[in-house]
Protein backbone atom coordinates (compact mmCIF):
# COMPACT_ATOMS: atom_id res chain seq x y z
CA UNK A 1 0.00 0.00 0.00
CA UNK A 2 1.42 3.22 -0.99
CA UNK A 3 0.25 6.67 -1.77
CA UNK A 4 1.69 9.96 -2.61
CA UNK A 5 3.00 11.66 0.41
CA UNK A 6 2.49 15.07 1.78
CA UNK A 7 4.01 18.10 0.27
CA UNK A 8 7.24 19.32 1.63
CA UNK A 9 5.54 22.03 3.59
CA UNK A 10 4.51 19.49 6.19
CA UNK A 11 7.21 16.94 5.78
CA UNK A 12 10.40 18.55 4.76
CA UNK A 13 12.31 15.34 4.64
CA UNK A 14 9.78 13.48 2.61
CA UNK A 15 10.36 13.01 -1.00
CA UNK A 16 7.62 13.64 -3.44
CA UNK A 17 6.94 10.09 -4.46
CA UNK A 18 4.73 11.30 -7.22
CA UNK A 19 7.87 12.54 -8.81
CA UNK A 20 10.13 9.59 -8.08
CA UNK A 21 10.31 8.37 -11.63
CA UNK A 22 10.03 11.71 -13.26
CA UNK A 23 12.19 14.04 -11.33
CA UNK A 24 15.25 13.36 -9.37
CA UNK A 25 15.27 16.15 -6.93
CA UNK A 26 13.25 17.05 -3.94
CA UNK A 27 10.83 19.85 -4.39
CA UNK A 28 7.58 20.91 -2.91
CA UNK A 29 4.83 19.57 -5.10
CA UNK A 30 2.27 21.94 -6.32
CA UNK A 31 -0.82 20.05 -5.38
CA UNK A 32 -2.28 18.44 -2.35
CA UNK A 33 -1.59 14.85 -1.66
CA UNK A 34 -3.84 12.05 -0.92
CA UNK A 35 -4.19 10.01 2.21
CA UNK A 36 -1.90 7.19 3.00
CA UNK A 37 -4.62 4.59 2.79
CA UNK A 38 -5.55 2.84 -0.36
CA UNK A 39 -9.11 3.96 -0.38
CA UNK A 40 -9.44 7.36 1.07
CA UNK A 41 -8.77 10.47 -0.83
CA UNK A 42 -9.56 13.45 1.26
CA UNK A 43 -8.89 17.07 1.11
CA UNK A 44 -7.03 18.54 3.96
CA UNK A 45 -7.47 21.36 6.39
CA UNK A 46 -4.73 23.54 7.67
CA UNK A 47 -3.39 22.06 10.83
CA UNK A 48 -3.88 24.60 13.55
CA UNK A 49 -0.63 23.83 15.36
CA UNK A 50 2.88 23.35 14.15
CA UNK A 51 3.37 19.74 13.32
CA UNK A 52 5.99 18.20 15.52
CA UNK A 53 8.22 15.94 13.52
CA UNK A 54 10.83 13.71 15.05
CA UNK A 55 12.88 10.89 13.57
CA UNK A 56 12.19 8.01 13.14
CA UNK A 57 8.74 8.68 11.84
CA UNK A 58 6.09 7.09 13.98
CA UNK A 59 2.50 7.49 13.06
CA UNK A 60 0.28 7.64 16.12
CA UNK A 61 -3.28 7.25 15.18
CA UNK A 62 -6.28 5.43 16.51
CA UNK A 63 -7.98 5.20 13.15
CA UNK A 64 -5.54 3.65 10.72
CA UNK A 65 -8.17 3.01 8.09
CA UNK A 66 -8.85 6.64 7.61
CA UNK A 67 -5.58 8.07 8.69
CA UNK A 68 -4.82 11.27 6.97
CA UNK A 69 -1.85 13.50 7.17
CA UNK A 70 -2.61 17.08 7.97
CA UNK A 71 -0.76 19.48 5.81
CA UNK A 72 0.43 22.95 6.34
CA UNK A 73 -1.44 24.45 3.41
CA UNK A 74 -4.28 26.90 3.92
CA UNK A 75 -6.45 25.37 1.24
CA UNK A 76 -6.50 21.96 2.79
CA UNK A 77 -9.54 20.52 4.45
CA UNK A 78 -9.59 17.55 6.77
CA UNK A 79 -12.29 15.85 8.73
CA UNK A 80 -10.04 13.52 10.70
CA UNK A 81 -7.82 14.34 13.58
CA UNK A 82 -4.36 14.67 12.24
CA UNK A 83 -1.77 12.20 13.43
CA UNK A 84 1.28 13.26 15.29
CA UNK A 85 4.45 12.27 13.57
CA UNK A 86 7.47 12.07 15.74
CA UNK A 87 11.19 12.17 15.15
CA UNK A 88 13.86 11.73 17.70
CA UNK A 89 15.34 15.19 17.07
CA UNK A 90 13.05 18.05 17.92
CA UNK A 91 12.77 19.94 14.65
CA UNK A 92 9.48 21.40 13.59
CA UNK A 93 8.44 21.43 9.98
CA UNK A 94 7.16 24.93 10.10
CA UNK A 95 10.29 26.08 11.84
CA UNK A 96 12.35 24.52 9.06
CA UNK A 97 10.33 26.35 6.46
CA UNK A 98 10.24 29.53 8.46
CA UNK A 99 13.93 29.23 9.23
CA UNK A 100 15.27 32.78 9.27
CA UNK A 101 18.31 31.58 7.37
CA UNK A 102 16.12 31.22 4.27
CA UNK A 103 14.89 34.79 4.38
CA UNK A 104 16.47 37.79 2.78
CA UNK A 105 18.02 40.40 5.00
CA UNK A 106 18.75 43.99 4.10
CA UNK A 107 22.39 43.07 3.82
CA UNK A 108 21.52 40.40 1.24
CA UNK A 109 19.41 42.89 -0.67
CA UNK A 110 22.17 45.46 -0.58
CA UNK A 111 24.67 43.04 -2.04
CA UNK A 112 22.27 41.96 -4.77
CA UNK A 113 21.59 45.60 -5.56
CA UNK A 114 25.27 46.40 -5.75
CA UNK A 115 25.96 43.34 -7.89
CA UNK A 116 23.16 44.27 -10.27
CA UNK A 117 24.40 47.84 -10.40
CA UNK A 118 27.89 46.85 -11.41
CA UNK A 119 26.54 44.49 -14.06
CA UNK A 120 24.14 47.11 -15.42
CA UNK A 121 26.86 49.74 -15.54
CA UNK A 122 29.02 47.35 -17.51
CA UNK A 123 26.13 46.58 -19.83
CA UNK A 124 25.43 50.27 -20.27
CA UNK A 125 29.04 50.93 -21.15
CA UNK A 126 28.92 48.18 -23.71
CA UNK A 127 25.71 49.46 -25.29
CA UNK A 128 26.75 53.11 -25.37
CA UNK A 129 30.17 52.23 -26.66
CA UNK A 130 28.66 50.09 -29.40
CA UNK A 131 26.19 52.82 -30.28
CA UNK A 132 28.95 55.42 -30.44
CA UNK A 133 31.17 53.36 -32.64
CA UNK A 134 28.39 51.82 -34.66
CA UNK A 135 29.82 48.32 -34.24
CA UNK A 136 27.38 46.03 -32.55
CA UNK A 137 28.51 42.64 -33.74
CA UNK A 138 31.63 42.31 -31.64
CA UNK A 139 30.09 43.37 -28.33
CA UNK A 140 27.17 41.04 -28.98
CA UNK A 141 29.50 38.17 -29.83
CA UNK A 142 31.49 38.95 -26.72
CA UNK A 143 28.25 38.71 -24.76
CA UNK A 144 27.53 35.31 -26.25
CA UNK A 145 31.02 34.15 -25.32
CA UNK A 146 30.40 35.49 -21.82
CA UNK A 147 27.19 33.48 -21.55
CA UNK A 148 28.92 30.31 -22.74
CA UNK A 149 31.93 30.71 -20.47
CA UNK A 150 29.76 31.53 -17.47
CA UNK A 151 28.31 28.05 -17.76
CA UNK A 152 31.79 26.53 -17.82
CA UNK A 153 32.87 28.66 -14.88
CA UNK A 154 29.82 27.62 -12.89
CA UNK A 155 30.67 23.98 -13.51
CA UNK A 156 34.29 24.27 -12.48
CA UNK A 157 33.44 26.20 -9.32
CA UNK A 158 30.62 23.81 -8.45
CA UNK A 159 32.88 20.79 -9.01
CA UNK A 160 35.55 22.24 -6.77
CA UNK A 161 33.18 23.13 -3.96
CA UNK A 162 31.32 19.82 -4.14
CA UNK A 163 34.44 17.70 -3.98
CA UNK A 164 37.05 19.41 -1.89
CA UNK A 165 37.34 21.07 1.49
CA UNK A 166 34.84 21.27 4.29
CA UNK A 167 33.20 23.83 6.55
CA UNK A 168 36.58 24.72 8.06
CA UNK A 169 38.24 25.61 4.77
CA UNK A 170 39.28 29.28 4.76
CA UNK A 171 37.20 31.61 2.57
CA UNK A 172 35.10 28.84 1.04
CA UNK A 173 34.09 27.00 4.21
CA UNK A 174 30.58 28.41 4.45
CA UNK A 175 29.95 27.85 0.75
CA UNK A 176 31.09 24.24 1.02
CA UNK A 177 28.82 23.69 3.99
CA UNK A 178 25.92 25.24 2.06
CA UNK A 179 26.55 22.98 -0.94
CA UNK A 180 26.69 19.94 1.32
CA UNK A 181 23.40 20.94 2.89
CA UNK A 182 21.98 21.47 -0.56
CA UNK A 183 22.74 17.89 -1.51
CA UNK A 184 21.04 16.63 1.58
CA UNK A 185 17.97 18.84 1.20
CA UNK A 186 17.91 19.97 -2.43
CA UNK A 187 14.44 21.40 -2.27
CA UNK A 188 15.30 24.06 0.31
CA UNK A 189 16.80 26.22 -2.42
CA UNK A 190 13.31 26.70 -3.80
CA UNK A 191 12.29 28.11 -0.43
CA UNK A 192 15.07 30.61 -0.18
CA UNK A 193 14.09 34.18 -0.81
CA UNK A 194 15.62 35.80 -3.86
CA UNK A 195 18.31 37.98 -2.32
CA UNK A 196 19.17 35.29 0.22
CA UNK A 197 19.88 32.92 -2.62
CA UNK A 198 21.95 35.29 -4.71
CA UNK A 199 23.77 37.50 -2.25
CA UNK A 200 27.04 35.52 -2.05
CA UNK A 201 27.49 35.53 -5.81
CA UNK A 202 26.36 39.15 -5.98
CA UNK A 203 29.09 40.08 -3.53
CA UNK A 204 31.75 38.33 -5.59
CA UNK A 205 30.45 39.98 -8.75
CA UNK A 206 30.44 43.42 -7.09
CA UNK A 207 34.10 43.14 -6.12
CA UNK A 208 35.14 41.80 -9.50
CA UNK A 209 33.14 43.98 -11.84
CA UNK A 210 33.45 47.32 -10.04
CA UNK A 211 37.13 47.82 -10.89
CA UNK A 212 36.45 46.82 -14.49
CA UNK A 213 33.64 49.36 -14.62
CA UNK A 214 35.91 52.06 -13.27
CA UNK A 215 38.96 51.33 -15.35
CA UNK A 216 37.79 50.13 -18.75
CA UNK A 217 35.46 51.54 -21.36
CA UNK A 218 35.84 49.11 -24.20
CA UNK A 219 32.37 47.98 -25.36
CA UNK A 220 33.54 44.52 -26.37
CA UNK A 221 35.13 43.87 -23.00
CA UNK A 222 32.02 45.13 -21.25
CA UNK A 223 29.84 43.04 -23.50
CA UNK A 224 31.66 39.98 -22.26
CA UNK A 225 31.90 41.07 -18.63
CA UNK A 226 28.30 42.16 -18.22
CA UNK A 227 26.80 38.99 -19.65
CA UNK A 228 29.29 36.64 -17.99
CA UNK A 229 29.00 38.21 -14.55
CA UNK A 230 25.24 38.61 -14.88
CA UNK A 231 24.85 34.93 -15.70
CA UNK A 232 27.12 33.93 -12.86
CA UNK A 233 25.24 36.10 -10.41
CA UNK A 234 21.88 34.75 -11.52
CA UNK A 235 23.10 31.14 -11.77
CA UNK A 236 21.73 30.50 -8.30
CA UNK A 237 18.31 31.60 -9.52
CA UNK A 238 18.62 29.33 -12.55
CA UNK A 239 19.70 26.61 -10.13
CA UNK A 240 16.64 27.19 -7.94
CA UNK A 241 14.38 27.06 -10.99
CA UNK A 242 16.01 23.75 -11.95
CA UNK A 243 14.87 22.37 -8.61
CA UNK A 244 11.34 23.56 -8.98
CA UNK A 245 8.44 21.77 -10.58
CA UNK A 246 7.13 22.68 -13.99
CA UNK A 247 3.79 23.72 -12.63
CA UNK A 248 5.37 26.22 -10.28
CA UNK A 249 7.50 27.89 -12.90
CA UNK A 250 6.57 30.74 -15.20
CA UNK A 251 5.97 29.40 -18.73
CA UNK A 252 8.80 31.56 -20.01
CA UNK A 253 11.23 29.92 -17.59
CA UNK A 254 10.02 26.47 -18.63
CA UNK A 255 10.42 27.43 -22.27
CA UNK A 256 13.96 28.62 -21.67
CA UNK A 257 14.79 25.43 -19.80
CA UNK A 258 13.32 23.28 -22.54
CA UNK A 259 15.25 25.22 -25.14
CA UNK A 260 18.52 24.69 -23.28
CA UNK A 261 19.02 28.40 -22.65
CA UNK A 262 18.74 27.75 -18.93
CA UNK A 263 19.79 24.53 -17.25
CA UNK A 264 16.90 22.10 -17.32
CA UNK A 265 15.27 20.39 -14.37
CA UNK A 266 16.11 16.93 -15.65
CA UNK A 267 19.72 17.75 -16.43
CA UNK A 268 20.34 19.19 -13.01
CA UNK A 269 18.40 16.37 -11.44
CA UNK A 270 21.01 14.01 -12.84
CA UNK A 271 23.62 15.81 -10.79
CA UNK A 272 21.68 14.99 -7.65
CA UNK A 273 21.91 11.26 -8.20
CA UNK A 274 24.81 9.20 -6.84
CA UNK A 275 27.70 9.31 -7.41
CA UNK A 276 27.07 13.06 -7.80
CA UNK A 277 29.86 13.41 -10.31
CA UNK A 278 28.22 14.77 -13.43
CA UNK A 279 26.28 17.74 -14.77
CA UNK A 280 28.05 20.33 -12.68
CA UNK A 281 27.23 23.35 -14.87
CA UNK A 282 24.19 25.33 -13.83
CA UNK A 283 23.79 28.33 -16.13
CA UNK A 284 22.67 26.73 -19.37
CA UNK A 285 24.22 23.29 -18.92
CA UNK A 286 25.61 23.51 -22.44
CA UNK A 287 29.02 22.29 -21.31
CA UNK A 288 27.76 19.33 -19.31
CA UNK A 289 27.65 16.79 -22.08
CA UNK A 290 31.11 17.62 -23.31
CA UNK A 291 32.68 17.71 -19.86
CA UNK A 292 31.05 14.43 -18.86
CA UNK A 293 31.71 12.61 -22.14
CA UNK A 294 35.37 13.49 -22.07
CA UNK A 295 35.64 12.87 -18.33
CA UNK A 296 37.26 16.27 -17.85
CA UNK A 297 36.47 16.47 -14.16
CA UNK A 298 37.58 12.89 -13.62
CA UNK A 299 40.88 13.77 -15.25
CA UNK A 300 41.27 16.82 -13.01
CA UNK A 301 40.42 14.69 -10.01
CA UNK A 302 43.03 12.12 -10.96
CA UNK A 303 45.66 14.82 -11.42
CA UNK A 304 44.89 16.35 -8.03
CA UNK A 305 44.97 12.89 -6.48
CA UNK A 306 48.37 12.03 -7.88
CA UNK A 307 49.90 15.44 -7.36
CA UNK A 308 48.41 16.45 -4.02
CA UNK A 309 47.10 13.19 -2.60
CA UNK A 310 43.56 14.55 -2.15
CA UNK A 311 40.57 12.41 -2.99
CA UNK A 312 37.41 14.10 -4.22
CA UNK A 313 34.19 13.38 -2.36
CA UNK A 314 32.61 11.83 -5.43
CA UNK A 315 35.03 8.91 -5.30
CA UNK A 316 33.73 7.68 -2.00
CA UNK A 317 30.37 6.38 -0.98
CA UNK A 318 28.34 9.43 -0.13
CA UNK A 319 28.23 10.13 3.58
CA UNK A 320 24.95 10.69 5.33
CA UNK A 321 25.68 14.41 5.26
CA UNK A 322 25.67 14.29 1.52
CA UNK A 323 22.93 11.87 0.63
CA UNK A 324 19.52 13.24 -0.06
CA UNK A 325 17.16 12.49 2.81
CA UNK A 326 14.65 9.90 1.71
CA UNK A 327 14.30 7.77 4.85
CA UNK A 328 11.03 9.18 5.96
CA UNK A 329 9.39 8.75 2.59
CA UNK A 330 10.12 5.05 2.55
CA UNK A 331 8.77 4.66 6.06
CA UNK A 332 5.58 6.40 5.08
CA UNK A 333 5.39 4.18 2.04
CA UNK A 334 5.36 1.13 4.24
CA UNK A 335 2.41 2.29 6.27
Amino acid sequence: MFAEVAPMSAFPHLRSLHHVNQCHYLSPPSHIYRSITTTTTKSRRRHPEPLVVDLPWVLNTSTPATTTIALDEPSLQSTDPPPVLKRSSPVTTTSMLNDPSLKSTWSHRAWVASGCTTVLVSLAKSVTGAADSGTWLQPILAGVVGYVLADLGSGVYHWGIDNYGNENTPVFGSQIEAFQGHHKWPWIITRRQFANNLHALARAVSFTVLPIDLIFNDPVLHGFVSVCSGCIMFSQQFHAWAHSTKSKLHPLVVALQDAGVLVSRSMHGAHHRPPYDSNYCIVSGVWNELLDTYKVFEALEMILFFKLGVRPRSWSEPSSNWTEETDTSSLIAEL
Binding site: Y294, K295, E298, A299, E301, M302, I303, F306, W315
Partner: protein
Amino acid sequence: MASIPLPTAKHSLPSLLHAQTPKTLLSQKLPNLPKSFQSQFCGVKLSHSSNFAVPSSFKKSSILAKVSKGSVAPSFSLKDQDGKTVSLSKFKGKPVVVYFYPADETPGCTKQACAFRDSYEKFKKAGAEVIGISGDDPSSHKAFAKKYRLPFTLLSDEGNKVRKDWGVPADLFGTLPGRQTYVLDKNGVVQLIYNNQFQPEKHIDETLKFLQSA
Protein backbone atom coordinates in the same frame (compact mmCIF):
# COMPACT_ATOMS: atom_id res chain seq x y z
CA MET B 1 76.49 -3.81 -23.27
CA ALA B 2 75.10 -3.22 -26.73
CA SER B 3 73.87 0.27 -27.18
CA ILE B 4 71.80 -0.03 -30.29
CA PRO B 5 68.40 1.24 -29.27
CA LEU B 6 65.27 -0.48 -30.36
CA PRO B 7 62.97 1.80 -32.32
CA THR B 8 60.69 3.23 -29.70
CA ALA B 9 57.00 2.75 -30.04
CA LYS B 10 56.55 6.49 -30.47
CA HIS B 11 58.68 6.82 -33.56
CA SER B 12 57.64 3.61 -35.15
CA LEU B 13 54.01 4.27 -34.45
CA PRO B 14 52.93 5.85 -37.72
CA SER B 15 54.40 3.16 -39.94
CA LEU B 16 53.24 0.35 -37.74
CA LEU B 17 49.79 1.72 -37.31
CA HIS B 18 49.25 2.27 -40.98
CA ALA B 19 48.78 -1.43 -41.36
CA GLN B 20 46.77 -1.74 -38.21
CA THR B 21 43.29 -0.93 -37.05
CA PRO B 22 41.45 2.17 -38.30
CA LYS B 23 41.21 3.38 -34.75
CA THR B 24 44.85 4.26 -34.78
CA LEU B 25 44.82 6.32 -37.96
CA LEU B 26 44.41 9.42 -35.87
CA SER B 27 47.95 9.11 -34.66
CA GLN B 28 49.19 9.07 -38.20
CA LYS B 29 47.39 12.27 -39.07
CA LEU B 30 48.82 13.95 -36.01
CA PRO B 31 52.22 12.41 -35.64
CA ASN B 32 53.47 15.13 -33.35
CA LEU B 33 50.88 14.48 -30.67
CA PRO B 34 52.01 12.18 -27.91
CA LYS B 35 50.46 8.76 -28.23
CA SER B 36 49.06 9.13 -24.75
CA PHE B 37 46.89 12.10 -25.75
CA GLN B 38 45.00 10.10 -28.32
CA SER B 39 44.90 6.98 -26.25
CA GLN B 40 42.87 8.66 -23.56
CA PHE B 41 39.71 8.74 -25.61
CA CYS B 42 40.19 6.57 -28.64
CA GLY B 43 42.42 3.90 -27.30
CA VAL B 44 45.59 2.87 -29.03
CA LYS B 45 46.14 -0.71 -29.91
CA LEU B 46 49.32 -2.29 -31.15
CA SER B 47 48.85 -5.77 -32.45
CA HIS B 48 51.52 -8.20 -33.46
CA SER B 49 52.37 -8.01 -37.13
CA SER B 50 53.63 -11.20 -38.69
CA ASN B 51 56.22 -9.24 -40.64
CA PHE B 52 57.68 -7.71 -37.60
CA ALA B 53 60.76 -9.47 -36.40
CA VAL B 54 63.01 -8.22 -33.71
CA PRO B 55 66.51 -9.60 -33.83
CA SER B 56 67.04 -11.56 -30.66
CA SER B 57 70.12 -9.56 -29.79
CA PHE B 58 68.02 -6.43 -29.54
CA LYS B 59 65.47 -7.98 -27.26
CA LYS B 60 67.82 -8.55 -24.39
CA SER B 61 70.35 -5.81 -24.93
CA SER B 62 68.72 -2.46 -24.46
CA ILE B 63 67.34 -1.82 -21.02
CA LEU B 64 66.19 1.62 -22.13
CA ALA B 65 63.77 0.42 -24.80
CA LYS B 66 60.09 0.11 -24.10
CA VAL B 67 58.42 -3.24 -24.29
CA SER B 68 56.78 -3.39 -27.67
CA LYS B 69 54.90 -5.98 -29.59
CA GLY B 70 56.96 -8.93 -30.56
CA SER B 71 59.45 -8.42 -27.79
CA VAL B 72 59.85 -10.70 -24.85
CA ALA B 73 58.48 -9.00 -21.78
CA PRO B 74 61.17 -8.38 -19.19
CA SER B 75 60.82 -10.52 -16.13
CA PHE B 76 59.93 -9.07 -12.77
CA SER B 77 59.28 -10.21 -9.23
CA LEU B 78 56.75 -8.23 -7.25
CA LYS B 79 54.70 -8.76 -4.10
CA ASP B 80 51.06 -9.65 -4.51
CA GLN B 81 48.16 -8.64 -2.29
CA ASP B 82 49.05 -11.33 0.23
CA GLY B 83 52.65 -10.22 0.45
CA LYS B 84 53.91 -13.21 -1.55
CA THR B 85 56.56 -12.62 -4.18
CA VAL B 86 55.28 -13.44 -7.64
CA SER B 87 57.45 -13.69 -10.75
CA LEU B 88 56.26 -13.22 -14.29
CA SER B 89 58.11 -16.39 -15.23
CA LYS B 90 55.67 -18.35 -13.09
CA PHE B 91 53.06 -17.78 -15.79
CA LYS B 92 55.11 -19.05 -18.68
CA GLY B 93 53.28 -21.72 -20.61
CA LYS B 94 50.02 -19.83 -20.76
CA PRO B 95 48.91 -16.45 -22.09
CA VAL B 96 48.97 -13.63 -19.56
CA VAL B 97 47.17 -10.33 -19.53
CA VAL B 98 49.27 -7.81 -17.63
CA TYR B 99 47.41 -4.57 -17.04
CA PHE B 100 49.06 -1.48 -15.59
CA TYR B 101 46.64 0.88 -13.90
CA PRO B 102 47.08 4.20 -12.05
CA ALA B 103 45.89 3.40 -8.52
CA ASP B 104 43.53 1.36 -6.37
CA GLU B 105 40.22 2.90 -5.35
CA THR B 106 40.06 5.41 -8.16
CA PRO B 107 36.96 5.37 -10.37
CA GLY B 108 38.55 4.21 -13.61
CA CYS B 109 40.67 1.55 -11.98
CA THR B 110 37.71 0.23 -10.04
CA LYS B 111 35.67 -0.03 -13.22
CA GLN B 112 38.54 -1.79 -14.94
CA ALA B 113 39.15 -4.25 -12.10
CA CYS B 114 35.47 -5.06 -11.84
CA ALA B 115 35.26 -5.56 -15.58
CA PHE B 116 38.18 -7.98 -15.48
CA ARG B 117 36.49 -9.73 -12.56
CA ASP B 118 33.20 -10.03 -14.41
CA SER B 119 34.91 -11.48 -17.47
CA TYR B 120 37.45 -13.53 -15.55
CA GLU B 121 35.82 -16.81 -16.45
CA LYS B 122 36.11 -15.93 -20.13
CA PHE B 123 39.79 -15.20 -19.70
CA LYS B 124 40.26 -18.52 -17.94
CA LYS B 125 38.37 -20.28 -20.68
CA ALA B 126 40.79 -18.75 -23.16
CA GLY B 127 43.54 -20.20 -21.00
CA ALA B 128 44.82 -16.82 -19.87
CA GLU B 129 45.77 -15.43 -16.50
CA VAL B 130 45.17 -11.81 -15.48
CA ILE B 131 47.59 -9.68 -13.46
CA GLY B 132 47.01 -6.10 -12.39
CA ILE B 133 49.97 -3.86 -11.52
CA SER B 134 50.02 -0.45 -9.85
CA GLY B 135 52.29 1.47 -7.54
CA ASP B 136 50.13 0.79 -4.48
CA ASP B 137 51.42 -1.35 -1.61
CA PRO B 138 50.22 -4.90 -0.89
CA SER B 139 47.88 -3.82 1.88
CA SER B 140 46.12 -1.40 -0.48
CA HIS B 141 45.81 -4.18 -3.04
CA LYS B 142 44.47 -6.55 -0.41
CA ALA B 143 41.75 -4.11 0.64
CA PHE B 144 40.92 -3.29 -2.98
CA ALA B 145 40.73 -6.96 -3.97
CA LYS B 146 38.62 -7.80 -0.96
CA LYS B 147 36.20 -4.92 -1.43
CA TYR B 148 35.50 -5.75 -5.04
CA ARG B 149 36.00 -9.52 -4.81
CA LEU B 150 38.76 -9.58 -7.37
CA PRO B 151 39.81 -13.14 -8.18
CA PHE B 152 43.11 -12.33 -9.87
CA THR B 153 46.56 -11.24 -8.77
CA LEU B 154 47.40 -7.64 -8.02
CA LEU B 155 51.07 -6.79 -7.82
CA SER B 156 52.76 -3.91 -6.03
CA ASP B 157 55.16 -2.07 -8.25
CA GLU B 158 56.38 0.21 -5.53
CA GLY B 159 58.47 2.97 -6.99
CA ASN B 160 56.94 2.20 -10.39
CA LYS B 161 60.11 0.43 -11.45
CA VAL B 162 58.44 -2.19 -13.64
CA ARG B 163 56.20 0.49 -15.17
CA LYS B 164 59.31 2.39 -16.18
CA ASP B 165 61.10 -0.75 -17.39
CA TRP B 166 58.20 -1.64 -19.61
CA GLY B 167 57.91 1.93 -20.82
CA VAL B 168 54.27 2.45 -19.94
CA PRO B 169 53.62 5.99 -21.14
CA ALA B 170 52.16 8.56 -18.75
CA ASP B 171 49.09 10.61 -19.64
CA LEU B 172 48.16 14.26 -19.54
CA PHE B 173 51.67 15.57 -19.99
CA GLY B 174 53.14 13.18 -17.48
CA THR B 175 50.77 13.95 -14.64
CA LEU B 176 48.93 10.62 -14.65
CA PRO B 177 50.33 7.08 -14.63
CA GLY B 178 49.19 5.50 -17.87
CA ARG B 179 46.63 2.74 -18.22
CA GLN B 180 48.15 0.16 -20.53
CA THR B 181 47.51 -3.53 -20.95
CA TYR B 182 49.81 -6.14 -22.45
CA VAL B 183 48.84 -9.56 -23.68
CA LEU B 184 51.71 -12.01 -23.55
CA ASP B 185 51.58 -15.33 -25.31
CA LYS B 186 52.62 -18.57 -23.66
CA ASN B 187 56.24 -17.85 -24.51
CA GLY B 188 56.17 -14.49 -22.81
CA VAL B 189 56.19 -12.54 -26.09
CA VAL B 190 54.05 -9.41 -26.24
CA GLN B 191 51.30 -9.85 -28.79
CA LEU B 192 49.02 -6.92 -27.98
CA ILE B 193 49.38 -3.58 -26.26
CA TYR B 194 46.27 -1.51 -25.53
CA ASN B 195 46.27 1.93 -24.02
CA ASN B 196 43.18 3.90 -22.93
CA GLN B 197 43.05 6.03 -19.83
CA PHE B 198 39.41 7.05 -19.66
CA GLN B 199 37.59 4.08 -21.12
CA PRO B 200 38.89 1.35 -18.81
CA GLU B 201 36.33 -1.30 -19.74
CA LYS B 202 37.62 -1.31 -23.28
CA HIS B 203 40.78 -3.01 -22.07
CA ILE B 204 38.74 -6.09 -21.29
CA ASP B 205 36.92 -6.03 -24.63
CA GLU B 206 40.09 -5.66 -26.65
CA THR B 207 42.18 -8.23 -24.84
CA LEU B 208 39.40 -10.79 -24.72
CA LYS B 209 38.67 -10.30 -28.39
CA PHE B 210 42.33 -10.86 -29.15
CA LEU B 211 42.63 -13.95 -26.98
CA GLN B 212 39.50 -15.50 -28.36
CA SER B 213 40.59 -14.96 -31.93
CA ALA B 214 44.11 -16.25 -31.35
